[in-house]
């Protein structure tokens, strides 16, 4: 039998025809749990119907039902349609019957309750994030936008930060164990200061790994603070609840984990200023206290007394000088007076007034008539000169002197 080769279009068209001709698939009732429910502005609703193993896309035109949301168990009446461009199957739903909450949803609620009771979500267990992590550990897909966003934000806020990426699948089989391995790796190596565990947005199923009990437990057990970054809209995953902090997106997680370097700089500068001014105040207050004491001490300084002494001495000196001068003046005046008095007493001065001095031959002045004898040679001093003379007759108060002897 010759090999048949067809194009993709031919294949998809063939599948479409095969399915379209199947009567059962034209009108079929399917039971499952609604997930990833969303509506369009035109009034259509899109969702996935799933059970524990499989899922299928559904489209519901003219959506008007109440109570249709994620986690609901429903039975739909639909026909199976092939979207030929992508070879994709979807159920075009005609009617939808609400049969209650889905099993997966209920199971998740049960686990959540159990972990909550165990204290996995306790605020008291939440670790404080480091102020300045040197290394940021990231557990996420190596190919997703999440990793890229985290690196961009971390680099922008804090140039110089080290980022260690532990690549892990974040959805599908094996994702939980890889995420757990990542968290355990960082805890074992102790090579990160804070961890971001997460992925970009996704549907309820896409986030399934982050709702795994084991993942939540690994996050709880981490000694390194964990920030969850599971991008999604409504409910928190178990990972979010067990994490030390929850961020709505990977970028937000990076912002929470990585401080702005400039802010740290400002903080440091503020502390530096505060220390500087308070330390300076110590010196200043003591300096002014010292100056005040110094002023007091100076008043009592012996040096002051010395200068007092010096001043005293100076005034004494002045006083002494003035008194000495006065004394000298007085003495001089007295001397002058004496001199003039002396002048007046100068015997030779009397000669001017017509008196004479008689001196004996031995030079003595004959001051008494009894000191001379008749016939004795004497000198007579008159103003302007002297004359030699012989004593004639002597009369003592009218009596002859010689008679008395």
């Amino acid at each position: 039998m010759p090999e048949l080769v067809v194009t993709v279009s031919q294949l998809n068209e063939y599948i479409g025809r095969k399915i379209g001709s199947d009567a059962m698939l034209k009108n079929i009732k399917v039971r499952g749990e609604i997930t990833n429910f969303r509506t369009s502005s035109s009034g259509s609703a899109f969702f996935t119907l799933k059970d524990a193993f499989s899922s299928i896309s559904c489209i519901l035109f003219d959506y008007f039902e109440e109570g249709i949301e994620d986690g609901r168990n429903v039975t739909v009446e639909a026909n199976l349609n092939v979207y030929e461009r992508e070879g994709r199957l979807s159920l075009v739903v005609r009617s939808i019957e609400n049969t209650g909450l889905g099993a997966l949803f209920i199971k998740l609620e049960q686990v959540k309750k159990k972990l909550n009771e165990e204290g996995l979500f306790d605020v008291s267990h939440k670790k404080k994030l480091p102020a300045f992590p040197k290394t940021l550990g990231v557990v996420t897909s190596a190919s997703g936008a999440a990793m890229h966003d985290i690196i961009q934000v971390a680099k922008r806020r804090c140039p110089g930060i080290n980022i260690l990426i532990y690549p892990a699948r974040v959805q599908g089989e094996g994702a939980p164990s890889e995420i757990i391995a990542g968290i355990e790796y960082f805890n074992r190596e102790k090579n990160a200061d804070v961890l971001i565990v997460g992925r970009g947005g996704g549907s309820f199923e896409d986030l399934f790994a982050f709702n795994e009990e084991a993942v939540a437990r690994a996050v709880y057990a981490s000694h390194i603070p964990v920030v969850s970054a599971v991008g999604h809209e409504v409910d928190y995953t178990l990972t979010d609840l067990a994490a030390d902090m929850r961020a709505p997106t990977p970028s937000a997680a990076a912002e929470i984990c990585v401080p702005e370097k400039e802010e740290l700089r400002r903080m440091l500068y503020g502390l530096k200023e505060k220390m500087g001014s308070t330390a300076a105040a110590y010196v200043l207050t003591r300096k002014s206290a010292l100056n005040a004491l110094k002023a007091v001490i100076m008043v009592y300084s012996p040096l002051n007394r010395l200068s007092d002494f010096r001043n005293d001495f100076k005034s004494y000196e002045r006083l002494f000088n003035t008194s000495l001068n006065a004394l000298l003046r007085e003495k001089r005046n007295k001397l002058n007076l004496s001199k003039s008095l002396l002048g007046a007493l100068n015997p030779y001065d009397t000669l001017k007034r017509g008196y004479a001095i008689v001196k004996k031959e031995d030079g003595h002045v004959a001051s008494n008539i009894r000191s001379i004898n008749a016939g004795e040679k004497v000198s007579i001093y008159l103003y302007g000169g002297m004359a030699d003379a012989n004593i004639g007759k002597i009369t003592v108060n009218g009596e002859a002197y010689e008679e008395k002897i």
Partner: protein, 68 residues
Amino acid sequence: MKKKFEESLDELKEIAAKLESGNLELDEAILLYEKGMKIVRECEKQLDDAETSVKVIGLSAGKGGDDE
């Protein structure tokens, strides 16, 4: 072993508060201030380090290619 940045910050805050309390001896205050400035310089040095490194752990390279 280098101190963690937040430990240093806490220590600085403590030093600033002690200094602010004003009831230290002058030489104590000066020693404390010098200690604080030393920590500040260490912290600034840490901040000045601007070489960002991004490393993907090789152990599980090739995995995790199915996000979004």
